[in-house]
């Protein structure tokens, strides 16, 4: 399988950048490079990863300042041209702030930082982020955030539902969706979404922390494997 070129963006305060880099480069053997936030080039990457962390110390709002980093102009143009962009945790917050994904992420309803494994039900396996999952499959993936409470207005929620843009719901181990399984108060237990054109995805859970047997869990690898496979099935057209 030809290697997909991944770029992991590093903002001041990113702290899951090396985890994502490690999984992509050393576990999945893909060509992977870091992209410093002040760079103006995406170095011909096929996929851009906005990693977790606390960019700019979460000042003002999570992701609000990072959204104006120089590299974000390139990423916004790349995404609008169909380029594949994935935001994990803080990366999801940045994508919402940048307007590449609808809605916003506010303070957890429980008011505390939550760091534990959660179960996710995969809702749409037609996406390039979930294609190796089976319909309704339950993944166990850790979360670690204080602002992961997804909100959007009713019109946006309806569109997300109708167009299959909700990729993951927080659920119980058996896949049932209950309020007890919702770790942060997210509207309708939403844990991850994609944009209408299916090339930009944001999720609060951390698949890069659950991609190696030595860590006891490889469920997260399915997200990255889906992405890699999608390039084999559908060669890249942008750049």
């Amino acid at each position: 399988m030809a290697s997909v070129r991944f770029g992991v963006v590093v903002f001041p305060g990113s702290n899951c950048d090396h985890d994502a880099y490690h999984v992509l480069k050393h576990v999945l053997h893909q060509e992977t490079t870091f992209l410093w936030h002040k760079e103006a080039s995406l170095k011909n990457c096929d996929v851009i990863i906005l990693p977790g962390g606390f960019s700019y110390g979460d000042y003002l709002r999570c992701g609000a300042i990072a959204r104006f980093s120089p590299i974000m102009n390139e990423i916004i143009a790349f995404a609008r041209a169909g380029g594949v962009v994935v935001g994990i945790c803080n990366g999801f917050q940045i994508l919402c702030e940048a307007g590449l994904l609808p809605g916003a992420l506010i303070r957890n309803a429980c008011m505390t930082f939550v760091c534990r494994d959660v179960y996710l039900r995969v809702e749409n396996v037609q996406s390039r982020f979930t294609s190796v999952c089976s319909p309704g499959e339950v993944l166990r993936i850790p979360i670690a955030h204080g602002e992961g409470n997804y909100i959007a207005d009713e019109g946006v929620l309806r569109q997300l539902r109708e167009r299959g843009q909700i990729l993951f719901h927080y659920c119980e181990y058996d896949g049932s969706i209950t309020s007890a399984a919702n770790p942060n108060g997210s509207t309708e237990n939403i844990a991850g979404i994609m944009n209408e054109t299916g090339n930009v995805m944001g999720m609060m859970p951390h698949p890069e922390r659950a991609s190696e047997q030595i860590l006891g869990n490889t469920d997260g690898r399915k997200i990255f494997s889906s992405l890699i496979e999608s390039f084999v099935l559908q060669p890249l057209v942008t750049h």
Binding site: L60, R61, I106, I151
Partner: protein
Amino acid sequence: MFRVKVVITLRKSILDPPGKAVHHALESLGLGAVEEVRIGKILELKVRGSDEEEVTRIVDEACKKLLANPVMEDYAFTIERL
């Protein structure tokens, strides 16, 4: 020069978890007369401009583009000539 005070709060339709926690604490203090607490932030800006109209335009743009996120927040501001 003008001094502008921008007040940003979560939109009314959105639950404010910290505000709720503070409200509970006030109730425990016996201050049950406080019916609601909404927590926001205040930003003090110093802005150059020839008149209030120009400053309003500048601050409005700042709020829309960065200071507030219209998906979740409302903003209001007052302007004082220095």
